[in-house]
C-alpha cells in the first residue's frame, strides 16, 4: 500500500507530492537561475534583473583569454574522450570475456580513480609532473583527465558488453569470419551505444574538471573551468554566468545525445 499509487491516503500523497515539487525545484532552479542571470543587466547579479542585455556575452567573446580557455577545454576534453575510450575498450573485453583470477580486483583497480578523492589525485599528479617539468602542457591536462575519465568509460562499455551474447560472435567465426572481423562487424555495432556513452561521459568529466586542472594550469594554458575559478576568486562578475551557461548548454547537449543513443539501442 505504501508503494501503490492508488491506495495511499490523499493526505500522505498530497504532502509527498508537495515535498517532491519543492525538491525538484530546488534541484532544477539554480541551473536556470544562472542562465537567466547571464542575460541580466545588473553588475551585482540582482534578480530579477532591471533589464535584459547581451553585454556580458560580448565581454566574454571579446576577451581572448575566455575564448582561448574555452578552446583549450574543447581540445583537452576531445583528446581525453578518445584516449579513455580507446584504453577502456580492450580492457572491458578482457574483463568481461576473460576467465582469469583477479578480474574483480582489476575492475576495482580500474574504478579506483573514481573513489580516491580528486584532490588527492590532483596533488599527486601535480607533484610528479612538477618534477618532470610537464605542468602547463596539453599532455599534463589530457593524461590527468584520462585517469578520472577511465572509470566512467570502463563501466559503460562493460555494461553494454555484458548484455551481448558472445555466441553470436562465435557463430560469425564458425561461418568463416576472422575473430577481428567478427568483433568489428558483429559485436561492435551492438555495443556501440555503450562505447558512445563512454566517449560522451569521458568528454563531460574532462569538460567539467576543476581541481586537477587548476593544478595543471599555467598562465599560458588553462581550461574554461580554471579561468572561471580564478575569476570567481576575485569577483562574481556576470561574465562567469555566461561561461556557466555555456558549460551547462554543452552538458545538456551531450546528455540529450546520450539519451538519444540509449533510446536507439533500446529499440533494437
Amino acid at each position: 500500500m505504501l508503494l501503490s499509487h492508488g491506495s495511499l491516503g490523499w493526505k500522505l500523497k498530497s504532502s509527498l507530492y508537495v515535498i517532491t515539487g519543492v525538491i525538484a525545484a530546488f534541484l532544477a532552479l539554480p541551473i536556470f537561475f544562472i542562465m537567466a542571470l547571464s542575460f541580466g543587466s545588473s553588475q551585482w547579479l540582482v534578480f530579477p534583473p532591471p533589464s535584459w542585455t547581451l553585454k556580458w556575452y560580448e565581454r566574454f567573446f571579446d576577451n581572448p583569454q575566455w575564448i582561448e580557455s574555452a578552446w583549450t577545454s574543447l581540445q583537452v576534453a576531445s583528446l581525453t574522450s578518445i584516449i579513455a575510450t580507446l584504453l577502456a575498450i580492450p580492457a572491458s573485453f578482457a574483463l568481461v570475456r576473460g576467465k582469469f583470477r583477479g578480474r574483480d580486483y582489476l575492475y576495482t583497480f580500474f574504478t579506483l580513480p573514481m573513489v580516491v578523492p580528486v584532490v588527492i589525485i590532483a596533488v599527486a599528479v601535480y607533484g610528479t609532473f612538477l618534477n618532470l617539468g610537464l605542468t602547463g602542457t596539453l599532455f599534463a591536462f589530457v593524461t590527468s583527465h584520462v585517469i578520472i575519465a577511465l572509470p566512467f568509460a570502463i563501466i559503460s562499455i562493460i555494461n553494454s558488453l555484458r548484455l551481448f551474447d558472445k555466441s553470436i560472435e562465435d557463430a560469425a567465426v564458425i561461418c568463416g569470419a576472422h575473430r577481428i572481423q567478427a568483433i568489428l562487424k558483429v559485436t561492435f555495432p551492438v555495443i556501440k551505444p555503450g562505447v558512445i556513452s563512454a566517449a560522451l561521459f569521458s568528454f563531460l568529466v574532462s569538460w567539467d574538471e576543476v581541481v586537477i586542472s587548476v593544478m595543471m594550469a599555467s598562465p599560458n594554458l588553462q581550461t574554461l573551468p580554471v579561468k572561471m575559478w580564478s575569476t570567481l576568486r576575485q569577483d562574481l562578475t556576470p561574465v562567469i554566468a555566461v561561461a556557466s551557461t555555456l558549460l551547462i548548454l554543452l552538458s545538456l547537449f551531450i546528455m540529450i545525445i546520450a539519451s538519444f543513443v540509449r533510446k536507439q539501442s533500446n529499440h533494437r
Binding site: I23, F33, A88, F93, V116, I121, A122, S144, V210
Partner: protein, 283 residues
C-alpha cells in the same frame, strides 16, 4: 576449446596491458610518491605525522571535515528519501521526468552550480531579499562563506547520489509484501517502519556511504562557499602545497584522507554483494 585457451590468456594480458601501464605510470606511481613524501620530507621519519597531531588547526580541520560529511549525508538522506519514494509511486512518465531533472543537475558543471548558489545565498541575493520582503527576517542572513553555505551547496550536489541507488532499491521492492503486512493487521506506521524502511536499507546504506565518502574529499564547493574558519581536509592539503610548499604536511594529511576513503569504500563493496564482472560466468 582447450587448444586455444593458452593463447587466450595471452590475449587478455595484451588487452589489459595499455590501461594497466597507463594507470601504473600516471596514477599509482604519483600516488605512491606522494604518500612516500610524508615520510621523507623534509627528513626521513614520522615528524610530519607528529606535527599534524600536535597542531590544533589540523584537529579543527579534521573536525570540520567529519562534521560537514555527517551533516551533508543526513540532509541529503532527508531530501532524497521522499523524492525517491515519490518517483517510485508516480506514473512512469512523471517518474522519468524527475529522474531526468536529477541527472541534469548531476551532470551540470559543478562550478556553475556552486557559482549559482554563491549568487543565490549572498546577502543581497534573492533568498535573503524574499525572506525580508515576506517579513520573516529584518537583517540579511549570513549564508555564504560559512558552514551554512557549505552545507546547503554540498547537500544540493549530493542529493542525486542518494536518489539514484535508493530509487533503484525501492522500485525493486514487491508492493505485495507491504500489502501482506497491512492485511495481517499492521498499521500504516508499522508497515513503514518495520517493513518498508528495512527493505530500503541497502539503498539507503550504499547511498549514504557514498555521499559521506564523497563529502570528505570535496574541494571546490567548500572552498567557494565556506569561510576561512571552516576549512576542510582537501582545502588544507591544497593550501599546504600552494601557499606553504609544505609537501610533507600535505602528504601526511593526504595519507589520512586516503585511508578513511579506502576503508569506507571497502565497507561499500562489502555491502554491495554482486560483482559487476564476475556474475556473468554463464558460458
Amino acid at each position: 576449446m582447450l587448444i586455444i585457451s593458452s593463447r587466450k590468456k595471452w590475449n587478455n594480458i595484451t588487452l589489459l596491458f595499455p590501461i594497466i601501464l597507463f594507470l601504473f605510470l600516471f596514477f599509482l606511481m604519483p600516488l605512491a610518491s606522494l604518500l612516500l613524501r610524508s615520510l621523507t620530507e623534509p627528513t626521513f621519519g614520522l615528524q610530519n605525522y607528529a606535527q599534524l597531531l600536535a597542531t590544533s588547526t589540523y584537529m579543527q580541520v579534521l573536525f570540520n571535515t567529519f562534521l560537514v560529511g555527517t551533516l551533508v549525508t543526513v540532509i541529503s538522506l532527508l531530501i532524497g528519501f521522499p523524492l525517491s519514494w515519490c518517483i517510485t509511486l508516480m506514473p512512469k512518465g512523471w517518474g522519468r521526468f524527475l529522474i531526468s531533472i536529477i541527472l541534469l543537475s548531476m551532470w551540470t558543471s559543478l562550478l556553475a552550480r556552486t557559482y549559482s548558489w554563491l549568487v543565490l545565498l549572498q546577502s543581497s541575493g534573492i533568498i535573503n531579499k524574499t525572506l525580508m520582503a515576506i517579513g520573516i527576517i529584518d537583517q540579511p542572513l549570513e549564508m555564504v562563506h560559512n558552514l551554512t553555505g557549505v552545507i546547503i551547496g554540498m547537500s544540493y550536489i549530493m542529493v542525486p547520489f542518494i536518489v539514484l541507488p535508493l530509487q533503484a532499491c525501492m522500485s525493486a521492492i514487491d508492493p505485495m509484501v507491504l500489502q501482506a503486512a497491512s492485511i495481517c493487521g499492521a498499521s500504516a506506521r508499522t508497515v513503514f517502519f518495520r517493513v518498508f524502511l528495512p527493505l530500503c536499507k541497502p539503498g539507503l546504506f550504499s547511498g549514504a556511504l557514498m555521499v559521506f565518502v564523497m563529502s570528505l574529499g570535496y574541494y571546490v564547493t567548500p572552498a567557494l562557499l565556506g569561510g576561512v574558519s571552516d576549512m576542510m581536509l582537501p582545502e588544507f592539503i591544497v593550501q599546504q602545497i600552494q601557499n606553504f610548499l609544505n609537501w610533507g604536511m600535505a602528504s601526511a594529511s593526504a595519507v589520512f584522507l586516503i585511508l578513511i576513503t579506502l576503508v569506507l569504500f571497502y565497507l561499500y563493496l562489502k555491502v554491495q554483494t554482486d560483482s559487476p564482472v564476475s556474475s556473468n560466468t554463464g558460458a
